[in-house]
């Protein structure tokens, strides 16, 4: 039945890492992810894990050490946020292209500048095309569950891709809430032992990892990477199914909340989805047919699933906690609207809302106002202002 506990998101994730007991953790502290290596290094010191903990001198080195260890054949985990992720940049692509199943928590925080330590999604959204699978979690429970599933997804023989476990800095990472933990032995049994097929420390198979890959080969290797990302959808669903059988907690590529008869929908990631569910219930009590879609996976993008869920709505607001700065709309908006077009779901009017930048608080009332906007949008002939801001002081003028 699991263990009833109350933990912050970071404590929960550090405990999942203790239960997984990886071979190597290399990390450099950065707010708000610092507590993860902090708690974890205590587990190392107290002999709770057998992990080799590598306290490196920068995030670039953290990811480099993870890559080296993973290529050698180790099971590897790390954590970072914001500028730490930025400093890992070139190594993120090395990790994914070498097909190394590293699992990293990205505790979402605004990337500087100007300097801000609070939550938005500009860090992980910036890394969305680096070849990492990205899972997003609403609560400490989901952050914990996702990291356990992430290990299985990353190491699956058809995937071999690194996975980012994204959850909101401070809001989830530092807030103490109820959680149900799994027993240590159940986590260990679920993730299983890691036996890589090919690895550098295999004396019976001498291989090179990461050599020059010029015109005749790189294209095909990139294709293989893309294929793995495409296959990841089915693997994620399979792992979620097994996790459901273990825990009773049911997950999918997206979560739909009261979408069956919804006329107006919001698509939103992470902790704001919880606040939005409250808004949905309040508006439903007033007779408005509203619903919510929360993608639980952003890479691979569950485009078909989101488009299908939206096919009967009149209008949809796609909320991004990162401004794409592309002149069109946030990253979740552009991917969602592309998916709608590809899947021939063109009836709903779609609006991009940028919200919560740099930790701007998002209230239930804010989300209610979005649904009310959608009601107006649905009745308008021509909607031209599709790139909007929620909670911006003074509005766009």
């Amino acid at each position: 039945m699991g263990i009833r506990e109350r933990l912050s998101g970071n404590e929960a994730v550090a405990n999942a890492m203790r239960q997984i007991d990886p071979d190597v953790v290399a990390a450099f502290p950065i707010t708000p992810s610092t507590e993860i290596p902090q708690y974890f290094s205590a587990f190392v010191n107290n002999g709770k894990v057998h992990t080799e903990f590598v306290p490196v001198e920068s995030e670039h080195s953290a990811m480099s050490a993870c890559i080296g260890a993973s290529a050698a054949g180790a099971r590897v985990m790390t954590a970072t946020s914001a500028n730490g992720l930025s400093l890992m940049w070139e190594m993120l692509y090395i990790a994914s292209s070498l097909r190394l199943p590293i699992v990293m928590s990205c505790v979402n925080r605004a990337v500087s500048g100007p300097l801000n330590i609070h939550n938005d999604h500009s860090d992980s959204m910036g890394a969305r095309d680096s070849g990492w699978i990205q899972l997003y979690g609403e609560t400490n429970q989901e952050a914990y569950d996702n990291i356990i599933m992430a290990m299985r997804i990353a190491e699956h023989k058809d995937i071999h891709l690194p996975v980012m476990n994204c959850y909101d800095g401070f809001i989830t990472s530092h807030s103490v809430e109820n959680i149900e933990l799994l027993e240590d032995e159940k986590v260990k049994a679920f993730v299983g032992e890691y036996h890589p097929e090919h690895y550098l420390l295999n004396k019976d198979e001498q291989i090179a990892i990461g050599p020059l890959d010029v015109q005749p080969f790189l294209f095909e290797h990139k294709f293989q990477q893309a294929e793995a990302m495409r296959k990841a959808k089915d693997v994620i669903k399979q792992v979620q199914k097994e996790f459901y059988e273990l825990t009773g907690r049911e997950y999918g590529l997206i979560e739909e909340y009261k979408m069956e008869d919804a006329e107006y929908a919001v698509v939103v990631l992470n902790s704001t989805a919880g606040t939005s569910k409250e808004a949905v219930d309040r508006l439903r009590a007033q007779g408005m047919k509203v619903g919510l879609i929360k993608p639980r996976v952003f890479r691979p993008f569950p485009g078909e699933e989101i488009a299908n869920a939206l096919k009967n709505v009149k209008a949809v607001a796609i909320l991004d906690k990162a401004d794409g700065l592309n002149g069109v709309g946030g990253p979740l908006f552009t991917d969602t609207t592309s998916a709608m077009l590809i899947n021939k779901v063109t009836a709903p009017k779609a609006i991009s809302y940028i919200y919560g930048i740099g930790g701007r608080d998002v209230r239930v009332e804010d989300i209610e106002s979005v649904y009310k906007d959608l009601q107006e949008v649905a009745n308008q002939e021509n909607v031209t202002d599709t790139y909007r801001y929620l909670g911006l002081k003074g509005g766009r003028e």
Partner: protein, 188 residues
Amino acid sequence: MLEIRWHGRGGQGAKTASLLLADAAFNTGKYIQGFPEYGPERMGAPITAYNRISDEPIRIHSNIYEPDYVVVVDDSLLEVVDVTSGLKKEGAIIINTTKTPDEVRPLLKGYEGRVCTIDARTISVDTLGKYFPNTPMLAAVVKVTKVMDEEAFLKDMETSFAHKFANKPQVIPGNMEALRRSLNEVKE
């Protein structure tokens, strides 16, 4: 769902107090949230922390703007921070001060609800020999909000103190005394 907002100064332990309250409520079977509002952290600067306590799972992840209760750990904040902002008049404000409720009410911008005071400094110094306002404040919050049964609260705290102070059990009786006195000395 009960929503509580804490006002303190950096270093006084308002965040810790909010987490202790969350713990105590958790131990009586509730769903809880305990979280601080992180700002520019420095000793002495005003800080805010929050609690949600409910019989149902809690989904909202925003700060609290219309609290049922407000706790002020340092009465010097009354003139600096709008502590009663959004506070429901059916609720109450609990202030750590040597003053009486009638003496502090004029500082509360016309707040119409209950005003409760507790002299956490005297209780803390008498029972613990030092100024740790958390323990007496926690008991005052339990007394005023009735978020849990007082006896169950005392029993739970005794267990957590035994765990927390495993290496210095001699401080446990003082802490328990601080809780008991505080439960009896809240004024309104």
